[in-house]
Each structure stands twice: as C-alpha cells, then as structure tokens.
Amino acid sequence: MRFAALGTIIALVFVASCQREQRNPRVVAASASVMTQLPRESELVPGGSVPQPRISSPDNGNAYDINQGQTLFTAYNCAGCHGGEGGGGIGPALNDANWIYGGEPAQIFDSIVRGRPNGMPAWGARIPKDKIWALVAYVRSLSGQQPKSATAARSDDIEPDPHTGTTKARGSTP
C-alpha cells in the first residue's frame, strides 16, 4: 500500500517535471524551417524575405525553451526596443497585460514573424520557427503567463527600475 501511494506520487511528479525539464536540441526539420511565405505588414525587413503560413503553438511551460527565448531576446536585441525584461522603451512593454496585436501565443508568434506597423521588424526570414516559439514562450513569461516553476526569477543583466523604466549602472545610486 505504501509503495502504491509512493508510486502514484512519483508518477504525478514525473508527469509534471517531464514537460518542464525537457531539453530537445535536435528538432524536427519542419519545426525549424524559416518562414518566407507569410504576407508582411511592415515595410521594415532585416535582409528581405517572405514569411509562411501560421501554425499552432507548441508552447507548454518548458523551462529550457523559456530560457532559450531569454538568450535570444538579448542576442537579437529585442531588449533594444522592448527594454531589458520587456519593460518597454522605444517599443511597447511586454511585461504588462496590454497587447496591441493580441497576447495569445499564435498572435505573438505572428507579430514576430510578420512584423507590425510603427517599428516591429519581420523576423520570419531570419529566425527558425522553433526559436521563434522559444521567444514566444519567454515573452509570455515576462507577463507571468508561464508557470513560475519554469520561469527564471531574474536575469543576470541590469534590471530596469520598475518606476522609471530606466536601467542603472552597477554601483550607481538609484
């Protein structure tokens, strides 16, 4: 009896952790493809190509994907417009409940792939699909829509001041 109960608990934890802790660096080719056929809404395109039709979200509270998204958010300089940790700046804040073009995973995916008016470039030709989904997962985590257990509590970068949105250099007074 003890062992049955223990086994059930283990199985439940197993199911819960499995999703969160999965790491799959090797992806299926279809999910890694670059979308070049989607229609554009922005004139700005880094390099120039045509995006592809939308697909459903594989977003599922995976810690590794959210972490990948965090790395890419810095690597592709999303922070340059949207602020470190999505606090906003030239571009709109991503850590609040206001979604100009919709906050559903597929809508965020669309925004990244096709770009948006007033400054959002179309990344569809420049980032493979699976990495865009990682960015979607991270962006959603900024507004607390991902499980806390899969989200990092902070990044290793300078955090913006919650009141003014400005970042302070290390060692300076706020």
Partner: protein
C-alpha cells in the same frame, strides 16, 4: 551512585531482575508506528549506515556509467545532458548522502557504547536528524528520476547554477537537498558533542577518551561551523533562483565569486569532516591489530584538533585560478602545506605503534588499514603539490585533482570504513564476516582503485580537464581512460563481493561472541549485538584502554532506575558523576516534525512563501514534541 560489587550469590538474582526490567523499558516499539518512533541509538545508527550504503551503491552506479562513457573517445553511450547530471549526482551523493552520514551512523552507534552510557544525549533529535537525511536524499533522487537531476556540478558555481543558465528546477532541488542534509548533520553534531562531554562513564577523564570518540567529537565541532555556511549559501542561491535576489549577479552589485568563497568555506572543512573520523577508525584498528596502546595518544589528539581547526583556513586553494592577489593566495598556500604536519604526526605515531608491536593480526580489517596507509599517503602528497599556486594553475580542474581527492577520500575514509565494517559488523550483528571473502574484497578494491585512479594523475598533466562528457581521439587520452574504466569494473566487483560476504555471513558466519578481537574499548565488554540499554550496569573506567586496564573488582554504576530510561551525567573534564538524567522514550514526534519541515522545504522550492505553511506545521509538531508530561518516564530531570 557507584559501589563495589556485592557478594556473588545475591548478584545473580538482582542482576536478572535489573536486566529484564531494562529490557522492557528500552525495548523498541513494535509495529509500523513503532518502527517510525524508535529513538535508540543502535537502531538509528544502523539505519544511517544502511541508508548511506544504499546511496554509496547509487553513487557507484553513477560512476560506472561515467566510466563507461569515458572509456572511449567520442563515445555516444550517454548524452551530454545525462552525463552532466550523472557527475553532479555522483559527487553530491558521495559527499552529502554517503560520506558524512555513514560516519555519523558509526558515531551514533559507537559513541554511547564507547563512553559507557545507554543512549545519545538527545534521542528524539537523533531520530529527527535521520528522517531529515532520508527525506533529503529521497527528494533529490525523485528529482533525478524525473529528469530534474542536478546538473551544474556538486559545487554548482554561479552564474552557471544561477537562474539564467540553469533553467528549471534541477539546481533548486540540489540546493534544497543540502538544507535537509545539513539540518541532519547539525542535529548529529550537537548530540554527539553533548554525549561525549557529559555522558561518559565515571573515571573516563578527557585524556582517557578513545581516539575514535575524539575524532568524531572534532568532526562534530567542525560540522557546527562549516554546515551553516553551505546552508546559507545554498539558501542564497535558492533566493536568486526563485525570488529574484542578486547575491551572485554582478550587474546588480553581487559577485559570482562570492558563491565560491561561501561554498569552499564549507567545502574544504567538509573533506576534513570526512577524513578525521577515518583516522579515528585507523587509530582504533591499529590497537586491535597490534594489541598495543596507540603511541603518542596526546600528540594524536592534538593533531586531530589542529587539523580540524586549520581546516577552516584553506578554502581559497580551490580558487587559485580565479585571479586572486598573490599575497592572499600565498597565505592559503602556506596553510594548505602546514596542515600536512598534524597528519604527518599521526602517521609517525602509527608507525611507532606498529614498530612496538609483536606479530600483527593480519585479518581483513588490518588489510584495509594498510590499504589506507599506502593510498592516503599518495593522496596527501598530491595534496601538497596542489598547495603550490604555480603547480595548481596547471593541474587545477583536471583529472589530476580527480585522482588526488579520490586517493584522499577513498584511501582516507572508505578503506578505513571497510576496515571498520569488518571490525564492528560482528559487534552489530553477532556474526563474523568471512575472512577469505574479506581478503578477496580487499585486493579487488585495492588493485581496482589504483588501476582506476593512478592513470588520472597523468591524464591531468596531459591536458584532460574535469567534467567533460567526452574527448577527441587525437588527444591521446583514450588509452589511460580505458585503463581507468577497467579498474572501475574491479571496484564494482569488490563491492559485490562485500555485499555477498555480508549476506552470506549473516546466515552462516561464525558467531562473534563479545570480543573476537581482544580490543580495548568498552563496547567489547557487552554482548554482540548489544542490548538496547548497552550495559546492565554502566561501567567505570580506570585507564585509557578501558578493557585492558580493567580489574576483576572494578566498580560499576548501580542504582540507576530500571523503570525509566535513565543515564548518568558526569563532569566534562574528569568524568565525575554529577546527576542522573531521564531520557525520553520512543516518540513519533521526530518523524512528524521532519515531515512538517520537509513540507515547508519542498513546497518553497516551487512557491517560495509556502515556507510559511511549513513553519506553521513545524510549530505544531514542536508543540507535540515538547509538550510537558507528568510521567517521570518521559524526559524529566530527576534531582535525587
């Protein structure tokens, strides 16, 4: 009260009455609830040793898998992610879940017997410590089985182990497991120290305490100062990872090196916490092997204390490559070399002891003792090499270091531990282990160990860093790596022989009797296994080697109550009787408290403020634990 033994005719009847009364009062409760309520030190000590042995097997399997992966270059037997989890789990298991607990188990089992009392000073705390240890270990391993095994190394350097570079809960599980095991270790440390200081047999002054007891006393003192450092730092890491603090975040005023300082401030004493009781085992086995007193008792005791104290001043030698100022590094370099002196003193005293001996009793325990001499000596010498900053800068974080610490830890603790098993399992179970199988066991371990770890010294110099899941064929590391993997197979075989020997001997082993070795410490004067009350009449002691200096008309302690669990508290310096003390009996509250604390710790890994629920539950269980009872049989101090 102590008095000379009365006339033989009246003794037998009185003795039998006392014995059966003690048997009843000290009996372990039956049934499932009873099993969870046990507070006798023999049972808890055995549980610690058994559980630690299971973790040793788990750590051994992890090591075997790693050696299989590394036997060939560019091997794809294991993925890099799984390999990273394996080496982290191997180190964590061996250091936190095997090495310290198994020594604590021996301490808990042997100290009350060796100092001549009935139980440790805080029996319920003892039980609580055990449950915390078990829960911590199970917590970590459930994580491992659910793809949440820690994977940032047993030392978890930041920023790699921080929130940005270790996603998910893996490192959180690791950090919280540490809290569990350190609470457990602190419990044991406190009770061992109190037992050694206040519950000794009358006549056992400080300079008559057995060396093994001294060694676990020094270990307990070290635990008291070292464990809080790791609990704090793992707590800080958990806060960084779960609630966004910046202890180790340089962008916000923290520093990744802070983790290294805090961790190694614990980490270096930790290895002496493991090594010092190992030397305690050796000092005990040597008197059994030589039938002579240990040469230089005072020097050895002072060496133990000096090593324990100096062990806190070496930690920066793990950080020589981080770009520290030269002057600071030199201090730690000097300390690292100087600590070899007390260990050297112990070695010379052991040599002197054997020199004064007649023919040595070459049983299996003695074989393992000599194994310690030859292996630990090599490990100590490579440790001196690592103390030199220029040399360390070449071999730091390479397989040279892996070789060094396995030589000192396996040579310095595991070999004496194996000797201790062969020496004391007869006392714990009443059966001698088979000597032929024991010698096979020894040679497999000795040859296998050297075959595995000696080549690693060379691999380090040839450029092989640690913690690599594979290596390329053109590095030339393949040959020595394959040799090391073959040696690992021999070690595994040796382990299997030991398990087989144990299982066989429990059924067919020669009955041990009270004292198969002619040893000097008190536990050999009672039955094998000892009754829960250890001695019908607590002994007194008139010399440093209790049984060797015992005379037929030496007094024993009579007059302690036999309807309650009572012990005699004596003075710290001279062991003069002071007052009686009633120890608590069996209790379910340690388990319940451990469960409450575990709920708080585990829940807070996922949602930080769930710690509150754990605190509330713990407060409730502590209420139950300390609820005052009228019945004098439950922990009330008797003034008479």
């Amino acid at each position: 009260m102590t008095e000379a033994q009365p006339q033989p005719e009246s003794v037998a009847h009185l003795f039998e009455e006392e014995r059966s009364a003690l048997q009843k009062v000290w009996r372990n409760p039956r049934g499932l609830l009873g099993w969870f309520s046990v507070t006798t030190h023999q049972e808890i000590g055995r549980r610690y040793i058994f559980t630690a042995f299971l973790f040793l097997l788990a750590g051994g399997v992890e090591a075997m898998l790693m050696r299989l992966q590394l036997a060939r270059p560019d091997n794809h037997f294991l993925s890099n992610d799984f390999y990273d989890q394996l080496f982290t789990m191997h180190g964590t298991t061996m250091m936190f879940l095997f090495a310290v607990p198994v020594l604590e188990g021996f301490a808990i089992y042997l100290v009350p017997l060796m100092v001549g009392t009935r139980n440790v000073a805080f029996p319920r705390l003892n039980a609580f410590g055990y449950w915390m240890y078990v829960f911590g270990g199970i917590f970590l391993y459930i994580g491992f089985l659910c793809n949440t095994g820690a994977d940032a190394g047993w030392f978890a350097y930041t920023p790699l182990s921080g929130p940005q570079y270790s996603p998910g809960k893996r490192v959180d599980f690791w950090a919280q497991m540490i809290t569990f095991t350190e609470v457990s270790a602190l419990s044991v440390a406190v009770e061992i120290m109190t037992t050694v200081l206040r519950l000794r047999a009358p006549g056992m002054s400080l300079n008559r305490i057995p060396i093994f007891v001294w060694s676990v006393f020094v270990q307990a003192l070290m635990i008291l100062f070292a464990m809080p450092a790791i609990m704090l730092s793992s707590g800080m890491l958990l806060c960084d990872r779960t609630i966004g603090t910046h202890y180790f975040n340089p962008s916000e005023g923290g520093d990744p090196l802070l983790w290294q300082h805090l961790f190694w401030f614990f980490g270096h004493p930790e290895v002496y916490i493991i090594f010092i009781p190992g030397t305690g085992f050796v000092s005990t086995l040597i008197t059994a092997a030589t039938r002579r007193p240990l040469f230089g008792y005072t020097a050895v005791v002072l060496s133990l204390i000096a090593t324990g104290f100096m062990g806190f001043g070496l930690w920066v030698h793990h950080m020589f490559a981080t770009g520290l100022p030269q002057l600071g590094a030199s201090f730690f370099s000097a300390a690292t070399l100087v600590i070899a002196i007390p260990t050297g003193v112990q070695f010379f005293c052991w040599i002197a002891t054997i020199w004064s001996a007649g023919k040595l009793t070459m049983n299996t325990a003695t074989h393992f003792m000599f194994g310690f001499f030859f292996i630990f000596l090599a490990g100590g010498l490579t440790g001196v090499m690592l103390g030199s900053v220029p040399l360390d800068l070449q071999v730091h974080d390479t397989y040279f270091v892996v070789a060094h610490f396995h030589y000192v830890l396996i040579g310095g603790m595991v070999f004496p531990l194996m000797g201790a098993f062969y020496h004391w399992i007869p006392k714990m179970t009443g059966r001698l282990l088979n000597e032929t199988a024991g010698k096979v066991n020894f040679w497999l371990l000795f040859v296998g160990f050297n075959l595995t770890f000696f080549p690693m010294h060379l691999l380090g110099f040839y450029g092989m860093p640690r913690r690599v899941y594979t290596y390329q064929a053109d590095t030339g590391w393949g040959g020595l790596s394959e040799l090391a993997s073959i040696g690992a197979a021999l070690i595994a075989l040796g382990g299997l022989v030991f398990i087989g020997n144990y299982l066989w001997s429990m059924r067919h082993g020669i009955p041990a009797g009270n004292d198969p070795w002619g040893s000097d410490t008190l536990e050999w004067s009672t039955t094998s296994p000892p009754p829960n009350y250890n001695y019908v009449h607590l002994p007194t002691v008139s010399g440093r080697y209790a049984l060797w200096s015992r005379l037929p008309d030496d007094p024993v302690v009579t007059g302690l109550h036999t309807d309650r669990r009572e012990v005699l508290v004596t003075g710290i310096l001279d062991g003069q009787p002071d007052h009686r003390y009633i120890l608590p009996g069996s209790s379910i509250w340690p388990l319940l408290t451990a469960i409450a604390v575990a709920i708080g710790f585990i829940a807070s890994v996922f949602v930080f403020h769930d710690l509150t629920y754990g605190i509330i539950l713990t407060a409730l269980t502590l209420l139950g634990w300390f609820w005052p009872r009228r019945d004098p049989r439950h922990g009330v101090k008797d003034q008479s």
